[in-house]
């Protein structure tokens, strides 16, 4: 057999002074990077198997473990760096597409970090959230053009999603993530008074009690969707595209389609679950309108129907079309958005930053006078409460978090979701690994994360002298750009810092 040119990515550093040979690392590593050697009577490392997920590092009771990058220098070359060379070796050996999990990790600019928020000084007082109420409640859905009866206090509205915090858990299907991950997300969303999106794999029957707070997805594979599921759900989302892999479909290998996944997706046990790249019944805005309205018909116009698209070059025009097709929510998924599995080249080279997509779409819908007809939700790369506040000032009604939620559940961003051997029990269906997410702890951690963000958002709003999130929405005067060129400032619709 020809020698493999593949080198380990990581080095397992085991401090022998501290190792007590308890084998907890052996028990925890699904990749078998730690092995108990009977003859040596000690734990030995198989570095090449290590994915740097930190499971062993966290679990080691004596802190004897640390994972380092496997340092192997190549001759200095600004063009052919080590990563490019190693990827070439890998493809020369495998002949396959390079696969990867999670979102784009390249050093593209992160525009959130070039935006600065305003604060009140002297002339307009700031508000102390500990003393005065600050409103974060948000309603997603179509708002009427005019009040039919301006003198009445009540107006009949089309269906809305009520969010206590303008945050939702974005679509991650059962199949790509474990049932215990779904349990955690569903329970946390219900406790927080927000929505979670069950993704394109349907909703497991154990979670039906959470369905009022569940958004179900109608994707190109149409998995797990039927009339009763649509009626049961709190909201519906048509998934056209995904920020991590715009233009690409999905493929859940048959090995992952175990009994529960098969029943939930309503597909045969062990069969591959293929989501085609396009919806084969949507080739125009008119086709999309047909699907939107058939879903509304199926739910007696009592459910919000959203459309999720990846942020791509003509996103403003696309969004305008979606709004006119009758969508109640448009979800713009930026190129930082995560995934369970994507071709590496697509993930790293296709799409737009969510910040630009949001600014462009919000601007366009305003110009066309139809901004009130849809809510804008952005996804892909939101990391903290400041990102959310900036997104709302740029024009978003709410945001989706996926990666941040998984990190709260223990994800260490090793990007190996596609292997199905997630050591943190998240992106796996292997029963012994699934048990690693205890939904009780998962729920608590997610609730903690969102609650802490809630406090921070209120602080930031209060600092700007704003007491309701409604007053911030699209209020780009609260933003200034640093380190951005004139064109970038123009697209974002903001002034430069100091202006």
């Amino acid at each position: 057999m020809a020698i493999s040119l593949k080198l380990p990515e990581f080095l397992v550093v085991r401090d022998k002074e501290r190792c007590i040979e308890c084998q907890v690392c052996v028990n925890q590593c699904a990749n078998e990077a730690h092995i108990w050697d009977q003859d040596l009577e000690q734990v030995v490392s198989n570095d090449v198997a290590c994915v740097n997920c930190h499971r062993c590092v966290v679990y080691c009771p004596t802190r004897a473990l640390r994972i380092e990058e496997w340092k192997q220098d190549f001759k200095k070359n600004a063009n052919w760096d080590g990563i490019s060379i190693k990827q070439t070796y890998l493809q020369a050996e495998s002949g396959g597409t390079l696969l990867i999990g999670m979102g784009n990790d390249k050093a593209y600019p992160i525009y959130w970090d070039h935006l600065l928020l305003n604060a009140s000084q002297v002339t307009n007082p700031s508000i102390d959230p500990l003393r005065e109420p600050i409103e974060l409640r948000t309603y997603l859905g179509r708002k009427p053009d005019l009040l039919k009866n301006p003198s009445a206090f009540r107006e009949e509205l089309p269906p809305q999603l009520q969010l206590e915090v303008p945050v939702m858990f974005s679509a991650m299907s059962f199949g790509s993530v474990s049932l215990n991950t779904h349990r955690s997300l569903a329970a946390a969303a219900s406790e927080l008074g927000i929505y979670w999106n069950a993704g394109e794999g349907g909703l497991h029957e154990d979670l039906f009690s959470y369905s009022p707070k569940t958004i179900v997805q109608v994707a190109s594979g149409r998995f797990g969707i039927n009339a009763s599921m649509l009626k049961r759900a709190g909201g519906i989302e048509i998934k056209i595209g995904q920020g991590a892999k715009p233009g690409i479909g999905g493929h859940l290998p048959g090995e992952k389609v175990e009994e529960d996944v098969s029943r939930t997706r309503r597909i045969p046990y062990g069969s591959d679950a293929i989501s085609p790249a396009p919806h084969h019944d949507i080739y125009s805005i008119e086709d999309l309108r047909q699907l939107i309205y058939s879903l509304k018909e199926a739910t007696a116009y009592e459910r919000v129907v959203g459309v999720k698209v990846a942020a791509v070059h003509n996103i403003a025009a696309i969004a305008s079309g979606i709004a006119r097709a009758g969508a109640d929510i448009i979800v713009l998924d930026g190129f930082r958005g995560g995934t369970g599995a994507a071709p590496l080249r697509i993930r790293d080279n296709v799409g737009l930053p969510a910040e630009f997509a949001l600014a462009a779409v919000d601007q366009r819908l305003r110009e066309e006078g139809i901004r009130n007809e849809v809510s804008l939700v952005i996804a892909g790369g939101i990391r903290n409460s400041a990102d959310i506040i900036k997104a709302i000032a740029l024009g978003a009604d709410a945001i989706y978090i996926g990666t941040a939620a998984l990190i709260a559940l223990g994800c260490h961003m090793c990007q190996k979701c596609y292997t199905g051997k997630c050591n943190w029990g998240i992106a796996t269906q292997q029963p012994d690994l699934v048990r690693r997410v205890n939904p009780k702890i998962g729920r608590e951690r997610l609730v903690n994360l969102v609650r802490s963000w809630e406090h921070e958002m209120k602080e930031m709003l209060g600092g700007m002298g704003i007491n309701a999130i409604e007053s911030l929405r699209g209020n780009r005067l609260m933003l200034r750009g640093v380190g951005l060129n004139a064109k970038e400032l123009e697209i974002l619709g903001i002034k430069a810092a100091g202006e």
Binding site: I20, C22, Q23, V24, R435, N438
Partner: protein, 152 residues
């Protein structure tokens, strides 16, 4: 009385219950490192990680109401304290191992302490103010300390 219950749905089979149990019952109860590096004999756990393809769980003495080990103990070394905890008075134990065969779950084990045979069983860490050590350190809350009959 409060008992330790293993929730097999959330056990991650890491074995930390064994590590910390062995430590807290060693000469160096506060340091895993010292317990394992300095003890003359490898510290021994009284909780046992049982694992199969389908499930795993840290199991230990159930402190049975009608405890067969107490009935079988030839010396009276096996006794129940005021809190209902079944304890073994190591001073009085003569290592006859009758409790080993009496326990229907096989949760009393013999251990070799440098040529000296000892019998070990879970004592629910009754000398600690807080929850039993295995519960305290279970990283996924798969061992819980609850009143008998309490639902999860």
């Amino acid at each position: 009385m409060k008992k330790v219950v293993a929730i097999k749905e959330y056990c991650v089979a890491c074995g930390l219950c064994e590590v910390y149990c062995a430590t807290v019952h060693s000469r160096y109860p506060d340091s895993v490192l010292k317990a394992f590096k300095l003890s003359p004999q490898k510290p021994v756990s009284r909780v046992f990680l049982e694992k199969s393809e389908q499930w795993s769980g840290g199991i230990q003495c159930r402190h049975c109401k009608d405890a067969p080990c107490i009935a079988a103990c030839i010396t009276g070394a096996m006794y129940r304290n005021r809190d209902g905890i079944v304890l073994l008075d190591e001073e009085r134990c003569v290592q006859c191992s009758t409790c080993v065969i009496a326990c229907p779950y096989g949760l009393i084990k013999e251990s070799d302490m440098g040529g000296r045979k000892v019998l070990l069983k879970c004592d629910l860490c009754y000398q600690l103010a807080e929850s039993p050590t295995c519960v305290t350190y279970c990283p996924n809350e798969a061992l819980i300390w609850v009143e008998e009959g309490e639902t999860l």
